[in-house]
Amino acid sequence: MSVFLAILWKDLVTEWRSRDRVIAMGLFALLVVVVFHFALPEAGADRLRPALPGLLWVAYVFAAMLGLNRAFAVELENDALAGLALVPADRGWIFLGKAAANWILLGVVQAATAVAFALAFDVRLAAVAVPLSGVVALGSLGLCSIGTLFAAISVRTQYREVMLPLLLLPLLVPVLLGAVDATAQLLDEGRVSFAPLQLLLVTNAVFLIVSFVGFEYVLDE
């Protein structure tokens, strides 16, 4: 547990001092929203409505990819990754610390993106802010858990910027299905059924367990 807290503290303090990851993720997500805003026809706003949850999650996933790619880049400097590999603890705790930091940072970006999204597409998010936060948090948990594992795998590869999305996006299908469905229900009806949440919960549990166990072998050369 102390390893988990130490890694979480280190990642958040490091990010707080540089802010480079959050700013890059935030600007990228904002750009996606702006591009969609200008690219989609204004006249057919009602027809666009079913696509909005998907657009929101596209921005979230792209921002997450950017953040995850950088999550382990900081560990390459001074070979700090080798320092972590030497820690005499279950490496799953290192994974959890990194994943939790990624989840928190992504959450900050998602909150800002949601505001921009609401303004750009005239969506009333305030009424469903609390349940939507829960859905986004659940979806992001799945994204960050398996994403952190694959970020660690791809960080030592030659084409890591490309490798991570290639490895990760196919695995994110169940997360996106659940998250987009739940978000759509919230935006349409103001409430969400259990089915998409169940999908998210089960997927998250599987991703967390697999990543916790699998991380033991990821840090070895």
């Binding site: 390893v3 001092r17 540089s18 900081v74 001074n78 070979d79 700090a80 080798a82 005499p88």
Partner: protein, 236 residues
């Protein structure tokens, strides 16, 4: 009988067709300081990484006090001071040590960090980011980081690099202290004079193989130098 703290048999590491290390056997008892010397590319760093569990041997095995390399109990025994410092530039010197101490479950991280900062002469700059440090200061902080959990086995890869004379002398004294305290050290270095002065065993590596082995403190500097120069000539 003094059972070996570090035991290795038939260590071999290949990177594709390249043999980085082959046929290395080690039996290092408690309190032994082994100097590993050799030209660039001789396999010194590879040997240390294999001992630390940072790389898997292609053949052979390593045990630390009877525990196979890479296991959690083996990692707990190791302090690794490598080419790279393992430091986070955005964290201060104190924060880097606190972080390492927490990772290793040290009982009083703050106290341990303060003691190490003082020992390395870094107390005055404890609250400065490690990224602002000179190479020598970063190296001293890296040494403190490697010793933060009071390891039984200390692996040092070119630890004198970047150190000025007083800092190198301080490290010399620390190595002697580590030996007196019964810790086992493996020191990879190009500095033959310091190696001969500190170590009680030496291994000269050339092209991944043991070219010369010497034992018995104090090591004779000239013999070591001749073997080293032969290894350098051989690899040229």
């Amino acid at each position: 009988m003094n059972a070996p703290v570090i035991e290795a048999r038939g260590l071999e590491k290949r990177f594709g067709p390249v043999v980085a290390l082959a046929g290395v056997d080690l039996d290092l008892p408690r309190g032994c300081v082994l100097a590993v010397v050799g030209p660039n590319g001789a396999g010194k760093t590879t040997l240390l990484r294999l001992l630390a569990g940072l790389a898997r041997p292609t053949r052979g095995w390593v045990r630390l006090e009877g525990v196979a390399r890479g296991r959690r109990e083996a990692r707990r025994r190791i302090g690794f001071i490598g080419h790279a410092t393992f430091l986070y530039p955005a964290l201060t010197a104190r924060e880097n040590l606190l972080f390492a101490a927490r990772l290793y479950g040290v009982s009083d991280p703050a106290g341990r960090a303060e003691a190490l900062l003082a020992r390395q002469g870094l107390a005055q700059v404890a609250d400065q980011p490690a990224g602002s440090f000179s190479r020598g200061m970063a190296q001293r902080l890296a040494i403190a980081r490697g010793l933060v959990h009071d390891p039984q086995v200390v692996l040092l890869d070119e630890p004198f690099t970047g150190l000025d004379r007083p800092a190198a002398d301080r490290l010399d004294a620390q190595l002697r202290n580590l030996r007196t305290e019964g810790r086992t050290c493996v020191l990879a270095t190009h500095d033959l004079a310091r190696a001969a002065a500190v170590a009680d065993r030496a291994l000269v590596l050339s092209r991944g193989r043991v070219a010369h082995a010497a034992e018995g403190a104090p090591l004779v500097g000239e013999t070591l130098e001749r073997a080293y120069l032969a290894a350098v000539d051989g690899s040229a």
